[in-house]
Amino acid sequence: MKEEWDVIVVGGGHAGIEAALAARRMGCSVVLISAKIGRIGELSCNPAIGGIAKGTIVREIDALDGSMARSADSTTLHFRMLNRKKGPAVWGPRVQSDAKEYARTQQRHLRNSGVTIIEDEVTGLDGLTEKVSGVRCRKSSSIKGKTVVIAAGTFLKGRLFRGDEHWKGGRIGDISADSLEDDIVRRLFHVERFKTGTPSRILQNTVNTEQLEVQKSEKTSFTFSYDKSMNNGLEEVCYVTYTNRNTMEIAKDNLHLSPLMVGRIEGTGPRYCPSYEDKVVKFPERMRHKIYVEPMGYKSRYFYLNGLSSSLPREAQEKIVRSLDGFSEAEIADYGYAVEYSYFHYTEIDDTLRLRKTENVFAAGQICGTSGYEEAAGLGLIAGANAGRVAKCLEPLSLSRMESYIGVMIDDIVSKGADEPYRMFSSRAENRLHLRQDNADRRLHNTGELFGILSEDKSELLNGNLREAGRIKVLLEKEIVDGIRLSKWCRRPGTSVEEVVSAANSLAGIDEEVLKSVLLDEKYSGYIERNLRRYESRRDLEKISLKEISSYMEVEEICWEAREALEKSRPETLAGAERIPGIRPTDLQGLLIYLDRRRSTWNNARAGEI
């Protein structure tokens, strides 16, 4: 066993895996400690990866050489490009994965990379909060490390609920990290509670699939990874069913037994991912809710019921499931439940994912207040890379929100926080037309090189794509179609990529994927430029600190309403002030004038002293 590790990763979920691998790719010695080795990389909830914005994150992870994309590719059973009819900037690749195989593949990536894996429960940090020396574990003694990444997911004082049953755990059949949470709270970190839930798993052979709508996989050569060799060639179909009046009545009759409704759970749950009980309460007029029936794996014995999350008692869940078309005889293998857990309040985390109170502890994944595998993996990758940098005595880095969803996500959660588990939406990105799934390789190439987290092969592949794109851009400037330069021609509204390809001779024989991506860059370039300019001018506001204002009530340059609003939220910068509802440009100007005056009076006073 090593004396001192460069990076200790706590937790083998999606965040922990990417963190460990990223630090390892930087050449760090890495140990990953997780409660159950066999459950590393488990898809705790649905067996699917990707989606709108989420799928783009997976591609970003691949551009940074993470493993989620490759593991998803090699275990794909069903593929759909969501939003295909909504514009290429919002396409969302999504796959159904073989859940068991996915976890196994991730475990293999970890082992092959040389990450040391220890099965144990971390019970606390060691040493001073400002600079920890490692972690304490239940079985093994202390483990020393230069840096620590906490990626404990839903396990920090995890509590599970179903009807009036409740027990400890981060998910069913697993531990709850109570001691670690105690230590975190003892060290005066501000934690809050969130909750989330999962639906039941159904035995496939008890479902009459003939009564269900079939949803076939799209035929495509798409892979999340820019290295296209991972496709496994396996396929499964998914099904769709709907809830009905009966389903709703049953849920209504049992509402009083829900741990959420009776207030046993205090944590806030995600509104965009409500339990079925929530839906019944929120949309009482709506009888029919779409339920996706998804296989848990290739030739798996289980179905997952996407859209029917519930923490009602077993009998109620059974009745609800059996009220669905095709499910009258269904047997539940695992019942749905809800989990409540602690997470770090956003003020604890800085934009490199380092905990502000410490020099060498990073947070990643669901404990940052997010939800979702992709979000967790994206955070993990950056936290791991930055832990690696700190272990090497380098400054940790932050990402721009104009260049990646991962950047948007980190910026959002550390600057605003969220009052519910944070899920990525494409509309959170103001530069969405640039943050597409097709160009993640080119967007993040620099970041990957800067962190030093790209393997040689990856770096070569991405450099190749970059060169090819550069070559295409030159061609677009050269060729003239209909008397217009091609780069301009392809920007005309309604022009499809296919049209451009068939119109331009010089583009024949070029790799279609890169070509399409470059053409989209051209098409959106005007908007993207405007967004960048707007962002830059707003960033100037970011640079102006308001910390020296002790009381806004005395700022005579702005109106009363503004004074009150500012005094209440006390923003750190002018940009923060701008975000407060009701604050107007004239108030911002007023603040500037005030600061300016203050500084000059202060300078004058000082000059007088001397």
């Binding site: 514009g87 991912c273 409500p274 709506r286 707007r534």
Partner: protein, 416 residues
């Protein structure tokens, strides 16, 4: 540090039953208390007082004074309105008394400008007010209708954006996948945009900057440089510019009407042309008074009728250039002083072209509708976002158009 006390007549010129004189700025109450022989602090806060204004023992008029405290008034400052009899002579005298006691005559639109700076008015309201500035003709023009239609429009843009965004994020789990509802939202939106455009057009009063000065002082050259036009006839012979020429310039995102005038000193010009120029002064925000080397001061008629006057020492590239403190040295040849001059011009309030903005918003919404039909929701949303920024900007609400997830999620029913 606080701004000067300003005063102005707020009602139309000429004889009428009653007139209103506005006084604004810290110290206004004290000033009024002193000229009306009211007790100290009688005007504190929101009050209405009757009193007599007298000058050196002579009663000028019996008036009603209404006061508003800071933060509650039209300008946001300590402010009062004197309601007096509408006799031009006594109104003039009251103004003179006010000035004698420390107030100064307000620049055109200065009340609104102060209101804007103090956050009491947004740009739309200021622009609406601009219609009144030259003479502050009648207060009924400021009905708030234009602001109302902009507020509605902004609201509707937000709703449309939410609908489009919701469709992008959640359509997979949503039952209705067609775009019928969105199209109808956009169709309504187009109507709201039209309303606003109409409203904006009718209120538009583009601010004017008039270039004046003795013949051949370089007015037309400056006009051409500023407007980027070569239309005016320019020569070194006095009197070659006979007609006032008009152009529009864009400075800091505002459209400003710039007028070139013929010379006013009588040399090489007949009387009627001169008078025509003087008449142009009404409704002009800034007069740029140009004279070679700053030698000739503006004449009295100009001083009396113009708003702000910027004095320019023209042709500063010529040998006989002098450093006159009050004059801005400008050379159309070397470009000296031009930037500074533009800055001064851009201060003209109300010169943001509301019609232009309204037209842009309307066009954006049309485009967005087009993108919905061509199934480019990504671009539709982008353009709506831009329209929202424009609308927010003129409402004085900043550019932050973060979509509240709360609202985008309203009515959305989603699974995982």
């Amino acid at each position: 540090m606080s701004p000067e006390i300003i005063c102005a007549v707020a009602t139309p010129e000429g004889t009428s039953a009653l007139s209103v004189i506005r006084v604004s700025g810290k110290g206004s109450y004290e000033l009024l208390e002193s000229i009306m022989s009211l007790d100290k602090n009688r005007l504190k806060g929101m009050r209405r007082k009757v009193g007599r204004i007298s000058d050196e023992g002579q009663i000028v008029d019996e008036v009603v004074v209404v006061s508003w405290p800071e933060g509650k008034s039209f300008t946001g400052e300590e402010m009062a309105e004197i309601i007096c009899h509408g006799i031009p002579r006594s109104i003039r005298t009251i103004i003179e008394i006010l000035i004698k006691h420390g107030a100064r005559r307000a620049d055109p639109g200065e009340f609104a400008r102060r209101a804007f700076v103090n956050g009491r008015l947004n740009a739309v309201q200021v622009i609406a007010l601009a219609a009144l500035w030259d003479t502050e003709k009648s207060r009924s023009v400021f009905t708030g209708k234009i602001e109302e239609s902009c507020t509605i429009l902004l609201n509707e843009i937000e709703k449309a954006r939410e609908a489009v965004e919701g469709n992008i994020e959640f359509s997979e789990t949503h039952l209705d996948e067609d775009n019928k509802s969105i199209r109808s939202v956009l169709r309504d939106l187009i109507e709201y945009a039209k309303d606003f455009k109409r409203e904006a057009d009718s209120h538009e009063n583009s601010s004017r900057v008039l270039i004046m000065g003795p013949t051949n002082s370089g007015k037309s050259t400056l006009f051409n440089v500023l407007t980027g036009k070569n239309g005016a006839l320019v020569s070194d012979e006095p009197g070659t510019t006979r007609d006032g020429s008009t152009g529009f310039i864009e400075i800091s995102g505002r459209t400003i009407q710039l007028c070139d005038s013929a010379g006013t000193d009588g040399i090489g010009l007949d009387r009627t042309a001169s008078e025509a120029v003087i008449n142009e002064l009404d409704g002009t925000e800034i007069v740029i008074w140009m004279s070679e080397g700053g030698m000739t001061p503006p004449d009295d008629e100009v001083i009396k009728r113009a708003g702000e006057i910027v004095l320019i020492a023209a042709k500063s590239d010529l040998k006989n250039r002098i450093e006159v403190e009050r004059f801005l040295n400008v050379s159309s040849v070397t470009g000296e002083g031009l930037e500074e001059l533009k800055k001064i011009i851009s201060r003209v309030p109300g010169s943001m072209s509301l019609s232009g903005v309204a037209a842009r918003i309307e066009e954006s919404i049309h485009k967005s509708d087009g993108f919905i039909s061509s199934r480019e929701y990504d671009l539709a949303a982008e353009i709506l976002g831009e329209a929202e920024i424009e609308a927010r900007r003129i409402m004085g609400k900043g550019e932050n158009i973060e979509l509240s997830i709360e609202r985008a999620l309203a009515g959305m029913c989603v699974g995982k």
